[in-house]
């Protein structure tokens, strides 16, 4: 099981060619392309290399373990089914996978918990700072720590807006309401914060 591996992209190893699933020089893009042709072993390898990231994020948004597993399973089935329609010119696999996953997770909390959203919002805002609780779960992870450090380097205002949007699964309008800020301010905080993170992490387009 290698799912704890980081999939920082672009990987310096990403260029190499064919190999077995155990060989991490195979890119996620290769694995997805092979999955599109029905290669279940390639998909298993894709799962192993991404599942901790996907499941962890889904679990953070959805919270309930059983539902998180269900949503994660749906996500991977959708990725499998639509593998041939993935457009590598638009996005790398991992950001795409996480985007699909985030959307599914948010769909789930919205449809399942619509009636308790208000209370939940209140609770999250006043009793549990999303970032603080997130931080507790990652002490031991090098990559997590690295990203966390970068998130820490943001202004508190930027960090709060980004955490509520991503880990809380709120829209930017909801974030604005939660923080009693104008929408424009939230847009700016999210964007400026992400730019700062991008530059600090050395992420390239």
């Amino acid at each position: 099981m290698t799912s704890m591996r980081s999939e920082r992209e672009p990987s310096p190893l990403a260029a190499a060619g064919s190999a077995t699933e155990a060989d991490h020089e195979v890119t996620l893009e290769d694995l997805l392309a092979r999955s599109a042709r029905g290669d279940e072993r390639a998909f298993a390898a894709l799962y192993d290399r991404t599942a901790s990231r996907v499941y962890g994020m889904v679990h953070r948004v959805v919270r309930d373990a059983a539902q998180s597993a269900e949503v994660t399973q749906d996500i991977y089935l959708e990725i499998w089914r639509t593998a041939a329609r993935f457009d590598a010119t638009k996005s790398a696999v991992l950001p795409y996978l996480l985007m699909v996953a985030h959307r599914r997770a948010v769909d789930r909390v919205r449809s399942a918990q619509a009636s308790v959203v208000r209370d939940d919002k209140y609770e999250r805002l006043h009793e549990e700072r999303p970032f603080d609780s997130v931080a507790e779960t990652v002490q031991s992870r090098l990559d997590g720590q690295r990203v966390r450090k970068v998130l820490d380097g943001l202004t508190e205002a930027q960090r709060e807006a980004i955490s509520l949007a991503y880990f809380g699964g709120y829209t930017h309008s909801e974030v604005a309401e939660l923080l009693a800020l104008p929408l424009g301010t939230v847009k700016t905080r999210i964007r400026d914060g992400l730019i700062r993170m991008r530059d600090a992490l050395g992420v390239t387009a």
Binding site: M4, A51, A69, W80, R81, P95, T137, A165, M197
Partner: protein, 245 residues
Amino acid sequence: MSHDLNLLAGAYALDALSPEEREQFQAHLAECPECTDEVRGMQRTAAELSQITAVEPPPQLREDVLRGISQVRPLPPVVDNVIALRRAKLSRSVWQGLAAACLVLAVAAGGWGYTQHRNASRASSANPVAAAVSSLANQPNADLVVSSTALSHGSGTVIWAKQEHKVVLIGRDMPALPAGKTYQLWMLPETGKAVSAGVFQPDAAGNVAYQTDGDLSGYVKMGVSVEPAGGSAQPTPSTVQLLNI
């Protein structure tokens, strides 16, 4: 580069836009290479956030996923149709024009949605749905929202003419139903009850071309369910498949 929509790049990358805003921003992306680059970098950055929450999933999940995929055939690639046009980096107006032209061609050829499945034996005049889509597509200002979704069998494309309050469902490879059963189309709000958009049946080849009056404003998805002939007041939950809009 600094314009209003550009400010949405961050929220888009974090998946923090409402469906309407997302659609608007995606349309803008097609016209704005700078935004496209910026979004790509931000999506990678957003993906990094998941390092923080990474956690080992339950072992059972891997088994479930792998058992699940062994029972599902991956969809074929999209070769030549409205989706391909939409994916191309064309301006919204251009792709809309092309999509409209493509529809007209498809309609004229009698083959729905997928031009590689042309079937010249049906004339558009014989098909009221074809005629309706054709007339929508011919209006230069028609504001069409096109969205395709893979179903467990086949696929469904929803075309929504916003101004005209028309909804067209183009289905492909949809299984025939047993006697006494029908497909029913639904408009699904974020919360609350589904609203029926009528019943339909695929033709012998599994193609669907179904048109109805409807305004999808305020709805987040459409759904297809299997119901007793004549349709139901609310969808049978176990049969519902969601369609993006």
